[in-house]
Subunit: 153 residues, 2 copies
């Protein structure tokens, strides 16, 4: 898999937050229910995002988490780096240590190109952009549920 499960869950939750973002704190339990992710597991993932300054949290009744910045200012790469780290964008395709131009493997040039394509996609895509698209076309964030199901009630 390109992204770890933790990372994917972090992305889904971030999209959820960006879709509701009115500055309110959303309880993690709400998200874990709606997104069909284990509550405790999601909690740990969101703690990482909080530690990285992407989210802020508030304890107690009416507490929860929210984005620290506008969804327009958060790129997918921010979340990927916070959770999976930079490996995907820096590692050798052949798994050799210390990938770099001075000591490349035969795949280097081609892989560097592909890697850049991945990087660019993650860097140019904002949460808001995906939320707009998701709302317009009622796309899904869970196995079944489209944007409409997730956010009404």
């Amino acid at each position: 898999m390109l992204l770890s499960k933790s990372c994917v869950y972090g992305l889904r939750a971030s999209l959820y937050l960006a879709a509701r973002n009115q500055g309110e704190f959303i309880p993690i339990r709400t998200m874990s229910d709606k997104l069909e992710i284990s509550f405790h597991f999601l909690t740990k993932i969101l703690q990482q995002l909080t530690a990285e300054g992407i989210l802020e949290s508030f304890k107690g009744p009416n507490g929860g988490v929210r984005l620290t910045r506008e969804g327009t200012e958060i790129q997918l790469i921010d979340i990927v780096l916070a959770i999976d780290g930079p490996q995907l964008l820096t590692e050798c395709a052949l798994g050799l240590p210390g990938c770099g131009v001075k000591n490349p493997c035969p795949l280097h040039d081609k892989w560097a190109e592909t890697r850049d394509a991945i990087h660019e996609m993650l860097e140019k895509t904002t949460l808001t952009e995906l939320v707009h698209k998701g709302k317009l076309e009622n796309l899904r964030l869970t196995t079944e549920g489209g944007f409409d199901i997730l956010f009404d009630n």
Copy 2:
């Protein structure tokens, strides 16, 4: 990681075979020594490639494995599919089951593009092509060893 460790080892070994290919069987032990991969682990990986018809093996003295086809006719994708399966090229970036155009997630369009770029890279690159490049520029297949070290003696 984009590719599993098994897959990467399979690729390295395939490149090794393509680089020496004179129709001779190469013992797995030779490859595991040269490529610094655990012998037993490499054996199991190459058994998969043999089962998929990419390699053929021969037991006993002077035995080993060799490519069934010319290196010019083996693409990286063949090895990736044999070891990691098609998941990388068919899975949803958000980990949702049954990725497809009828029920997409918000990332679908962008991910499909990126995925195609990966697919194309793997599909258009042959073993021979990488071997030529590796020999010309003495690139590495191990942490330290360039093509020259691996194949002399």
